[in-house]
Symmetry: C2
Subunit: 333 residues, 2 copies
């Protein structure tokens, strides 16, 4: 490879695709050329990258020849069809879909947590579920130093996790409310404005929905902790683009607040926001646009020296998707 | 007492006060007379009760003579000053503030859960914190039959918990967003629209905020479980008037889904909303206006037969406040 790279983005017009473009700019990633791919519907439209206007091509029939890094963010079905094509053409694929995440020969990587797993890649690296990536950054420092046995996780997930249309649906519902119109919906199964609801993925046999099962399985894989008990409740909230998570964890030994705070403050990708006197803790509005994950409300469980609680907020589109993907490419280049 | 009752409502113009009035109507409570009390600012205004217009009087100097039931919902400071006056005048006081809740000689009552504690009252009954009341209804059937040792609770609390002005602030912020104006705030310390934040009560020495410490202490008192471990994370969400709670509980013995569902379905005050195939579970929008608490997402913790998880939604202004208070009066009359 040369010192600059030929990049493809599959799903370039989606919420995550657009953010990948913005993060490549923001990080001044050495881009030799940019191939933007999307459905036939978007073909011919243009997206800005630095001072160029780049025309979107349709994904159908794409051969990925000459591409160094292919970022996929167009859903599991399209990844299953086109990731093998891109790999065959010699591209290194960073796939944001769930299609290959749990495949044993595919590393599932959060660079600050298990960047070393990249060494084993065979042309394909999976980018984790947004909640799993944000959670892993926040808890890895404690898991590495102390060991986490069990985590109870309740999420406060933004509309962006369901894509750009879902974000627009939240905006349009509050506008309908503001003008006294009837609130309508097309994307989510329930009204999202002024409401919260259990994550809208199918509920599996075990009683957990697909989002929760991803959080369980992917957290174990990223943290190299196949035995870790993870008990998630994944809930959508009327927030635009950052996810929050309330975490209570059982550790392998007694751990004080001071030790936890030191471990977190030394960790890459973590910004501690924990000012009880000001009642200032992580909030999705403050996490929006940030590459780092905000961690706070670090406290002990009364009567149990080996348990700790945290509250975490991270930008779903950045650390939960686009930034993590570009960060993987930065490590590989 | 006669068959109809002389009622006073202190804080009649507040979010809860107005709901008490509505619930008295809805339940056709036998009201002989109604004395509406509020700050001097509201004195002279009128509130509708059935087909009458009742003038609001100022609380200052009120002697409560002739009152049978006095509902207090004007904050702890006013309760500390005027509850003793009302008791001295012979009224039975139902106090929605936190002033007397943890006092040993004051029953803290959720009628479906510990209605029998009313027998011990000495003229004053405390109405619990909204999250504690809603949680108690949902978990009491399991605690009674099986025993709960530990609960991890993450809340999704609506604006109504901070009063009518806070509800208006959420509405006004989404209207500002809709019209492209700058979002302003006066009531909450942080923007509530499109955001979530740690509950805005002072954080105590133990790392938990006052709301969380209320949830810990009051849950134990209501459930008669002084040893129960309760680990709450109380979070505000941009919802208008119903609270939700994600609960993971450790029970005293293995308990299956079928048993849990049966216990819940037999319990007063609980409506099961648990349809995995339709992805239909408790939501604050559906709980709004309901007297019962919605319970769903009943599932087991993988690998642990003695743990169960639930998701709960209840109307903060009704079961979390006004309805619980009127329900206490219904039991006492």
């Amino acid at each position: 490879m040369s010192k600059s790279y030929h990049i493809a983005i599959v799903g370039a017009t989606g919420a995550v695709g657009v953010e990948i473009l913005r993060v490549l700019e923001r990080r001044d990633f050495p881009v030799a050329s940019l191939r933007l791919l999307a459905s036939a519907r978007s073909a011919g439209k243009k997206l800005r990258f630095k001072d160029q206007e780049v025309e979107i091509r349709k994904l159908e029939g794409e051969d990925f020849r000459g591409i160094d890094f292919a970022f996929f963010s167009a859903g599991a079905t399209r990844s299953r069809e086109y990731v093998p094509v891109a790999m065959k053409a010699g591209a290194v694929v960073i796939d944001n879909s769930s299609a290959f995440r749990m495949q044993e020969d595919v590393p599932l990587v959060v660079p600050e947590v298990n960047g070393e797993d990249l060494k084993k890649h065979q042309g394909l690296i999976a980018n984790p579920n947004c909640c799993a990536a944000i959670l892993a950054v926040a808890v890895a420092p404690l898991h590495r130093a102390v060991g986490i046995r069990k985590m109870i996780v309740s999420t406060y997930q933004s509309a962006s996790g369901a894509g750009a249309q879902a974000m627009r649906e939240l905006e349009s519902q509050v506008k309908q409310f503001a003008s006294g119109e009837k609130i309508t919906r097309e994307v989510f199964p329930h009204q999202i404005a002024f409401n919260v609801f259990s994550h809208n993925t199918p509920v599996a046999e075990n009683g957990f929905n697909d989002e929760e099962n991803k959080l369980i399985m992917e957290t174990r894989k990223i943290l190299h902790a196949p035995e870790m008990v993870v008990v998630p409740t994944c809930i959508r909230v009327p927030v635009l683009r950052a996810h929050s998570e309330a975490v209570v964890m059982e550790l392998a030994r007694p751990t004080g607040i001071a030790e936890a705070r030191r471990l977190l403050s030394e960790a890459a990708g973590v910004e501690i926001v924990d000012e009880p006197a000001k009642n200032l803790f992580p909030m999705p509005l403050d996490a929006t646009g940030k590459l780092d994950v905000l961690v706070g409300r670090i406290r002990k469980v009364p009567g149990d020296d080996s348990s700790l609680a945290l509250f975490v907020s991270g930008d779903q589109l950045l650390k939960g998707a686009a930034w993590n993907a570009v960060q993987i490419a930065e490590l590989l280049k």
